[in-house]
Symmetry: D3
Subunit: 161 residues, 6 copies
């Protein structure tokens, strides 16, 4: 039984993340989507608890996936959950360099951590949370960037409260 965490800020969870998630399910028996946030850092667009709710909504009919939020170091979460695999999607060379440094630092802090990279599928390679947030901030239609079964309007409404 291999369990991996799929950490990210998921602000919000996009079709690109969905594709990485589906690829990960072919590699691991269980995936824990871990929504990271840090009160000291910038706030983001969606409140962390809403990001978790959205993901729960998106994966409601899927097996072997769970969701949690965390505010500690990713390696600390791995220790707590007794997980040795981290999975991350890669779209650009900038992603690659950033993620490589993090993977090496994580390995330094916890020797038995293995980070696995999944290349973005070509169809969704241009979808990033940044693009989606930019569309949402400008009241544009972001539905083409998001999983089909998510009612983004509902979450935007909830986020305003």
């Amino acid at each position: 039984m291999r369990t991996a965490i799929f950490p990210g800020s998921f602000d919000p969870f996009t079709l690109g993340h969905m594709d990485v998630l589906e690829s990960s399910l072919k590699l691991f028996d269980n995936i824990i989507i871990a929504v990271g946030f840090n009160s000291a850092k910038e706030k983001g667009y969606f409140k962390p608890e809403l990001r978790v709710e959205m993901i729960k909504d998106i994966i409601r009919d899927k097996k072997n996936i769970s969701v949690c939020s965390y505010s500690e170091l990713t390696v600390e979460l791995c220790k707590k959950l007794n997980v040795n695999y981290i999975v991350r999607g890669l779209r650009t060379t900038t992603d690659f360099e950033l993620e490589s440094v993090i993977a090496q630092a994580n390995k330094k802090m916890k020797k038995d951590i293995l980070t696995v990279f999944i290349p973005a599928c070509q169809e969704y390679s241009f979808i990033s949370s940044t693009v989606v947030r930019d569309v949402l901030i400008h009241n544009g239609d972001a539905s083409m960037f998001l999983p089909e079964n998510i009612d983004i309007e509902k979450y935007i409404e909830m986020n305003r409260k």
Copy 2:
């Protein structure tokens, strides 16, 4: 008649932007310089209305160029202005990756949009608005990075008010 928008934050408009503008005039019959800003995002250095004024000043003797500011999505501006071409300058590989993602997302949202990239000319390849702002913040002399006919001191003064 081909009209393109040349979108950017232009905080401020530099010699590098001027070079892209002049190249664009060889490709298009009209260029609309579109100063993007977003109240929800970081403020920038120059107030958006001043950036527009500066550009008007810079292009005052040039034909076939106009300036506007906008706060909607770039594709929404294109729809409103009935323009199908976007022109962007490229300096670095980081620019290229970021701009490619945006170009693909824009095409996804408006099928007939064509984004055209102009490579930075070698002479101005090191000039970015970030560098210029950094010089201005430190009270340095930024005139070598800016179009000749602009009185930057005047705008810095106006920006303080």
Copy 3:
């Protein structure tokens, strides 16, 4: 009337090239596809005259496009044809860096040359002539990477003679 050359080795012309060609037709009134080859360099896979034939075949129903082959410097071809625009597609950051250097060198050798970059559309971003040649060399099915109306088997056959 704006005419551009679209230079390349086109060994062979792929769906990715087709996409750049179609975008170019929105920017220019005429496009000259220029198949570059150099007897002193490596031979390539398809003979240059066959590459030209293939492209003629591919564009047979399209207007405002012509094909030629050339073995001189690209700027020399531009002078000969009295053309001031060069169009190139960009897929990766490696493409970008290589093409930027060439664009700057070309501008140095002929001041009024403007090189325009078209970003690869996301759908074909993974298609390169290298990938196609690799598939062909291994007798794989490359039809999904090539324009629909081309009978690649015929050209492979002709190339063997």
Copy 4:
């Protein structure tokens, strides 16, 4: 039971490859190291059959690993072996871009193929087969780049025959 192929030219198999192999064994139940070569392409340094022998030598005490050579497309090998996973190590952004294109092309040719990237460990990030070949060509000592249990002199000698 998950089986992956680890394809490459392995000319020769380095400590960097060894690190990717060991990481892969944590992800998959079986790994097939697949030495690719193509008579039509450049010859390489070590003869393909020697590269296979060297790897057999290196993994002689390890379980769940096998070695083969192949000259078809990687996706064809996957079909033949009924394998749906490909594992590749990544060192540089150049690697990343090249491998992403190949992964996407492979997925296009065989829908259920999943390519997984393992980041080079920091300790061996500077070791490439190119560097090793360069040292060997100049009669330098390459032992620090190679798995401990390999007698590289023996294979250099065998390669000369």
Copy 5:
């Protein structure tokens, strides 16, 4: 006698910086570590005066090194100190592009400035101040990323006041 400044935000000074410093001492007779900060910009994690204190602590047994803080342009500091060399470490391609632009802009503003790049040693290539701050913010153990003779807990405590 060649003196260089080694400018940076050093928030905090890491093992990676130490490695660049030690390489620089082989190139220059004196090194001035210059801690840059700007009241108008983001605050950073450690207060600038603490960063200077930490570095003084780290280099207390080393010769030919001094530390200062500055808030002007780096070229202005060079003029004031009558120094013509700037030394910077490079870890990633993103570093390289950013630093190249700054080096060219600095040369434009002060003709006789020479910027020298030192490649990160492979052992510390994954250590950045960003990674260290992230560990510190999450109350993790960052000692493996920091010079041995520094009592980071003391400075975290002082930073809180």
Copy 6:
């Protein structure tokens, strides 16, 4: 007294190399330009002995510079000449990645070697030997890419013999 080698294939020595050379003279007391070639590899354009002659011609009025050719590993040359510094120019991120790997491998093979990178000056950033060779192969005018005091036609003539 600090002596550095400036290794390269210099096929041919360009204005870009000249700029790196002049920067190096500000850092080191002596520079040895080392023309590397390898009989087992591709031949290049100019014969190695002609490349050396050209450089001698170019530096004939300069002090503290010498030229040699070598066919061993660069670290072996360093040992032979008792030199601990290597200087290399960087133009692109591709250069940077390649050179970083080589610098780290060299350091692994000879602990006290320090590789120093000089960023290409913006004026010559588009000049590479590849571009120059391409111009020469096509009988173009490459004089704008080459040091002023070199009679390239003479060397082309000598190279033909």
